[in-house]
Symmetry: C2
Subunit: 349 residues, 2 copies
Amino acid sequence: MEQKTGFNVAVVGATGAVGQQMIKTLESRDFPISKLTLLSSKRSAGTKVTYKDTEITVEEATPESFKGIDIALFSAGGGVSKELAPHAVSHGAIVVDNTSAFRMDENVPLVVPEVNEEDLHKHNGIIANPNCSTIQMVVALQPLREKYGLSKVLVSTYQAVSGSGAAAVEELHSQTKAIINEESFEPAILPVKSDKKHYQIAFNAIPQIDVFTENGFTYEEMKMINETKKIMHDENLKVAATCVRIPVATGHSESVYFEVDAADVTASDVQSLLKAAPGVILQDDIQNQVYPMPADCVGQNDVFVGRIRKDLDAENGFHMWVVSDNLLKGAAWNSVQIAESLVKLGLVK
Amino acid sequence: MEQKTGFNVAVVGATGAVGQQMIKTLESRDFPISKLTLLSSKRSAGTKVTYKDTEITVEEATPESFKGIDIALFSAGGGVSKELAPHAVSHGAIVVDNTSAFRMDENVPLVVPEVNEEDLHKHNGIIANPNCSTIQMVVALQPLREKYGLSKVLVSTYQAVSGSGAAAVEELHSQTKAIINEESFEPAILPVKSDKKHYQIAFNAIPQIDVFTENGFTYEEMKMINETKKIMHDENLKVAATCVRIPVATGHSESVYFEVDAADVTASDVQSLLKAAPGVILQDDIQNQVYPMPADCVGQNDVFVGRIRKDLDAENGFHMWVVSDNLLKGAAWNSVQIAESLVKLGLVK
């Protein structure tokens, strides 16, 4: 069967922070769409969204919504994905799922196109989009791993609140306003809406993203650890993460320490490699105070890397600073990019 | 000569962010003062400051200001310390200097009382107070080093703007207000007032504190590296730092990875040790979402530690999260604490 040239695409979670970015990205990339179906919970159904000058009414997502859909981009929470993705697949759609529902399922490829696009060939209907903080890190590490071998990664994150959804952005905004105006406020969303306690995020730093696991790491930290190993097909890669929420609306930053296998690699080698790397923009000119910052990355698809320097003790150790728009490369753009790869590889029948 | 019971104390930089905290701390600690002399630049001289219900007029600091002074606490910038500290010493005062002017001078002890109080005996008139981000880290690491041996430290910081002075706090405040009100603004202070470019700090993260050195690390990062080795008397200790400014007014946070020499140490061992450690308050109960945060540490002298967990790969590796008020333990309180130690050890003649 020959591949089509225009596809029926569904976005599930169309009214959410990431869903909105998916629609914008499909438009800005001019993705070959025959029909765009926008789906949401019952509560948000009826919302009108403009795509390429056409108004589309958001419909309630049901098992039957996926009849005739070629590609379904899911970003409506793990529960919705678990319930509806299998229905989408049974109707013949390929699902690109932005939730954590299927990421560690061994039958589901976990894909960042710059790193493991070839894993798409092994899909069984569902492809998982990794966690936002994982994606930007592996994009920056993959060229180094390919050329020099990678043995160890230690990352501390500086994550934006939009990773917790639009309500968390609103909480940062309203709390900031309250503090500036010396008014009282009651934290209700962050660090984790479903967890017991909520803390101030404005003018603060919260060392908890997602709930805690038994080993003392949070799920967010374990996502970075396990997903990195899966994407890179390297169970022996040493990875550790500390994930921290800071009062930034959009744009995750990461302080990454890594060790390569090869000897005699210089910081300049790393810079040259990343300058030419797909999906990476090198911003590393300390003489002119050029380095990535979250305020500068918003709205851009790339991963920005700077502050590259050799460790002063470990012969094969390096430090770098990695910044990206968590709603784009960390979510919407990586999902649409997977869809583009599926089309390019002739996998959408 | 017997030690006095009341001392003539001078605070140089009395109108600055740290100077103000020094005065408050001298008062709250009920430091044995006979006479308190408050000194500043010519510009700020004449300011009136209340100490224990008495109004004191701030005077211009000159070489002659130190006649009869027993202890002089300096926090008016490196230039002022370099110029006036030798005069203070020649008049018989012991100088506790909060600037970086003498920290790496081999004739000047660099002291955090919980770590190396005994170094005070070797002073030649000047004692240096370490950099704020160094102090809180070594307080948390020292008990571990003493009991288990310490071989390696990797730290990523989340530093408050008050480390750059009161003008930086005002910049964070006014920028935040401008962004909330959708007004324009012009960064003028951060990341480094004297450097060429200035960047937005509100809702952003800036991976530059102090200017850059030739090896790609900033001076702030090199301070953490070199000062930690000096305070711990261990040139072979492996230390690396990435220092980042975040939109928090007061309270530095640090994501610290460290490796101990001893085998079979557990996270619970580390917790027990830090629970009993001087100057440390353990806040580590993830079941109840208890961990340190900068918004909670403001106004307290202690170093708060949480998120202690064993690395999943390195047998002797651990992660922890260290938070402290950068103006207190990071500056004013450590300086006053050094003065208390000097008195306790009978070193103020």
